[in-house]
């Protein structure tokens, strides 16, 4: 059982179908600390010390976010920039996150077929996620295989419900140590 910290990262959840449903499912899991980054820091003023303490108190760090321009929404990037400090997360004396786990639950507009050499996005999701994989690596964290919900544009309400439940089960597996580590190299 890994103590789990879950970050929900979406600028306008009111207008999201998929991600909001996923969040609702995740909230059903007991003993997962759920944080909503845009709700907590609408003015982009991150309480770094508070966030660091949260990290210290958990083993598995999960981010749920839509794919924006082949990356995460900007507040999550700011969180990475500010919270994962040298001397804390990496660099000399920066071993606070060593041995912890990093995982992402990601929604993409395009279908799986778009994310391959022949598709219009040309790169696979795991190639595009390499900056995150390497971020975890530098922090000496274990990078777990991300959970993907793709082609959300075409998903029916029913499929969305399936995807959301799938995400919950996947996270439950990760908490129980049943999700494999992943390397794109």
């Amino acid at each position: 059982m890994k103590k789990t910290l879950f970050y929900f990262v979406h600028p306008v959840p009111r207008k999201s179908r998929t991600n909001r449903r996923v969040l609702e499912e995740i909230k059903l899991l007991p003993e997962v600390t759920v944080r909503d980054l845009y709700e907590t820091y609408p003015h982009f003023h991150i309480d770094v010390d508070f966030e660091k303490n949260l990290l210290l108190a958990h083993d598995l760090i999960v981010f749920q976010h839509p794919m924006y321009w082949y990356s995460c929404p900007p507040l999550m990037k700011l969180w990475i920039d500010e919270v994962l400090e040298r001397g804390f997360a990496y660099g000399e004396g920066g071993e606070a996150l060593k041995g912890k786990f990093w995982m992402q639950i990601i929604s993409t507009g395009g279908p799986e077929t778009a994310y391959q050499r022949s598709g219009y996005n040309r790169f696979t999701i795991s190639e595009l996620l390499r900056p995150f994989e390497q971020t975890a690596e530098l922090c000496q964290m274990h990078y777990l295989k991300p959970f993907l919900i793709q082609g959300v544009r075409q998903l029916s309400d029913l499929s969305i419900q399936d995807a959301a439940e799938g995400a919950r089960h996947y996270l439950q597996d990760a908490i129980n140590g049943k999700v494999e580590k992943f390397s794109s190299i």
Binding site: P11, R14, E39, P42, H43, M67
Partner: protein, 593 residues
């Protein structure tokens, strides 16, 4: 009376600008003016003694103002130059002058008396020169000031010493220091506890002249009290100034007293000029000139020696010596006392009073010569000592109006240790802020002199956070005319108030806008908007609203157009928000999340 006033004023108005123009300074202008109108000049006015006595108030006020600029802590920091340098100066100068007088075959006692009198410089002359040349805050200026202050202190024991020297037996005034200390403590006590409520009471009458009258009464009252316990009026009022230096009414006091000081000090110099007995010069011109130069030389040499011992910049030594080279008003007092206890004859007294008075007149001339010659030679080095630590009041920010609006900025600046001068017109307000350890000054911000005293000449930013649009406009007008370098930030209450400022490109802040927007954000959140989304909507509204305000400002006064703009704007905003919602929807439907 009227005729006399006319003569004094004419002398001042004619001579001072003339001497300023010649680069010889105002002091010499007054002195020469005094000689001309006095009994030994054209003889318009006699009775210099009386005028001199009255105009000594000018010296009292001068020292009070100097004291106001020095709080007890700063004074304490001066203790070493004060006692060391000041003490050394009096001893060395008096010693050297005594030797010269002995060489002129005077007897010992007489030499000592005259030398002691001449060792004391003129606070009025020296400080006027230092102030006029903006040198009071330089290292040299501070040293000169320390020396002058020590001399003022030294007068007290010297007055007791003369009768003793005359063999009139030990001084019976042993209790003087005791009573003097008591008086100082009394003033300190009253200044701390009684002054503020009284000032507030007076300020609340809203009658400027009563406030001015009270300020004068306060200074002169303290001076009189000090004199009654044997402290010189000048020293007493200086101490009073120091004790009031931390008071929030300081700037107001400064402003009220400054013009009186200027006029009375001018009158004082005129009176000195009037008392210069030129008939002595006619009888024995040689000995007057010779004595004058011998004593001046002795004093300048001894002062340079002191400066050297206390290690000034070489180029400043001579300046320091010249500024302090003259004999002063205390010499008149000492010589009169010496005559009365029989140490010197009345001829001696008249002769040396003349020498001292002439030495006051030579100072500006020597200074001019110095500046024309030595200063130019040394000027290449000047920049090294022109860079002085800024005066503590050189605050970059002035906040006018320290109500609930101005306070927020003030607190932020305070936290960041950014020097901030605060002005407010509400005595109750200042009182309240004082409790929280704030330093604010009472006064009407539309007064040029208050802005001046608050350091508008050196500040960078003036924040006008007062209520009342017309007052704000008045302040701005004044500032543009006199301190055009000041960057303005203005609080306004209504949109129409903002128009004029916007058209002048002055940043304005509607005082309730920020909090209403914050509230709107929270209300939206309660309605189910995400925090970030609510923020975005409000931000967008704000941008739009500011744009509309700028557009309206261009049509200020044209109600029809303004109404049309307001209508159009409402429509625009609705459209904008709709577009935004649509954009969000598109974002989702395009599958971004």
């Amino acid at each position: 009376m009227l005729q006399h006033s006319l003569i004094y004023l004419t002398a001042a108005v004619v001579m001072v600008p003339l001497f300023q123009f010649l680069g010889l300074g105002s002091v010499l202008g007054y002195l020469i003016g005094g000689i001309l109108i006095g009994p030994y000049g054209f003889g318009f006015i006699s009775g210099a003694e009386e005028v001199l006595h009255f105009s000594e108030i000018g010296v009292v006020l001068l020292l009070f103002l100097i004291g106001l600029e020095l709080n007890p802590r700063k004074l304490w920091n001066l203790r070493r130059p004060l006692i060391g340098m000041g003490g050394a100066q009096v001893v060395v100068t008096a010693g050297l002058v005594t030797v010269i007088l002995l060489a002129m075959s005077y007897d010992v006692k007489k030499s000592i008396v005259i030398a002691l009198g001449f060792a004391l410089s003129s606070t009025a002359v020296s400080l006027s020169i230092l102030r006029e040349r903006n040198r009071l805050n330089t290292a040299m200026g501070k040293s000169a000031f320390s020396v002058l202050l020590f001399q003022d202190l030294a007068v007290i024991p010297l007055m007791a010493f003369l009768p003793w020297l005359a063999g009139a037996g030990g001084s019976t005034e042993g209790i003087i220091p005791f009573r003097a200390i008591g008086a100082v403590l009394l003033v300190a006590f009253l200044g701390r506890f009684l002054l503020r409520p009284v000032f507030r009471l007076v300020a609340q009458t809203n009658l400027r002249e009563v406030f001015t009258a009270f300020s004068l009464l306060l200074v002169l009252g303290i001076a009189a009290l000090m004199q009654s316990v044997g402290v010189s009026m000048a020293l007493g009022s200086f101490l009073a100034g120091v004790l009031l230096a931390d008071s929030e009414y300081r700037h107001e006091l400064e402003i009220d007293i400054e013009p009186f000081k200027g006029l009375l000090l001018g009158l004082f110099f005129i009176a000195i000029g009037m008392s210069i007995d030129l008939s002595v010069v006619k009888i024995a011109p040689g000995s007057v000139v010779l004595t004058l130069f011998a004593l001046l030389a002795a004093k300048i040499i001894s002062l340079m020696l002191i400066a050297k011992i206390f290690r000034f910049d070489l180029s400043e030594n001579l300046l320091f010596a010249i500024i302090l080279s003259q004999g002063g008003e205390f010499a008149f007092v000492l010589y009169s006392l010496a005559q009365s206890v029989g140490l010197i004859t009345s001829e001696d007294k008249n002769f040396y009073v003349l020498i001292v008075a002439l030495s006051m007149a030579t100072t500006p001339v020597l200074l001019k010569i110095y500046e024309q010659t030595f200063y130019k030679i040394w000027s290449r080095k000047v920049h090294t000592y022109n860079v002085e630590a800024p005066h503590s009041e050189n605050n970059p920010v002035i906040i006018a109006g320290f109500g609930r609006f101005g306070q927020v900025l003030g607190r932020i600046l305070h936290t960041l240790n950014i020097g901030t001068t605060v002005l407010d017109y509400d005595p109750g307000h200042i009182e309240f802020m004082k409790k929280f350890g704030w330093k604010s000054f009472y006064g009407d911000v539309t007064r040029l002199d208050l802005l001046e005293a608050a350091g508008a000449a050196t500040a960078k930013i003036l924040v006008i956070a007062i209520k009342g649009p017309s007052t704000s406009r008045l302040v701005a007008e004044l500032v543009r005319e006199r301190f055009p370098h000041l960057k303005l930030f203005v609080r306004v209450e209504t949109r129409p108030d903002a128009y004029a400022w916007i058209n002048e490109s002055v940043p304005v802040y509607r005082d309730t806008l920020g909090s209403s927007l914050e509230m709107a954000e929270d209300v939206l959140k309660s309605l189910g908007f995400g925090a970030y989304e609510a923020r975005k909507v409000v931000r967008q509204f704000r941008t739009h609203d500011e744009e509309m305000l700028r557009r309206s400002a261009r049509h200020a006064g044209d109600d029809k157009t303004l109404l049309a703009i307001a209508r159009q704007s409402r429509e625009d905003l609705r459209q904008l928000m709709e577009d935004d919602v649509k954009r969000m929807r598109d974002l989702q439907s395009e599958g971004w999340g």
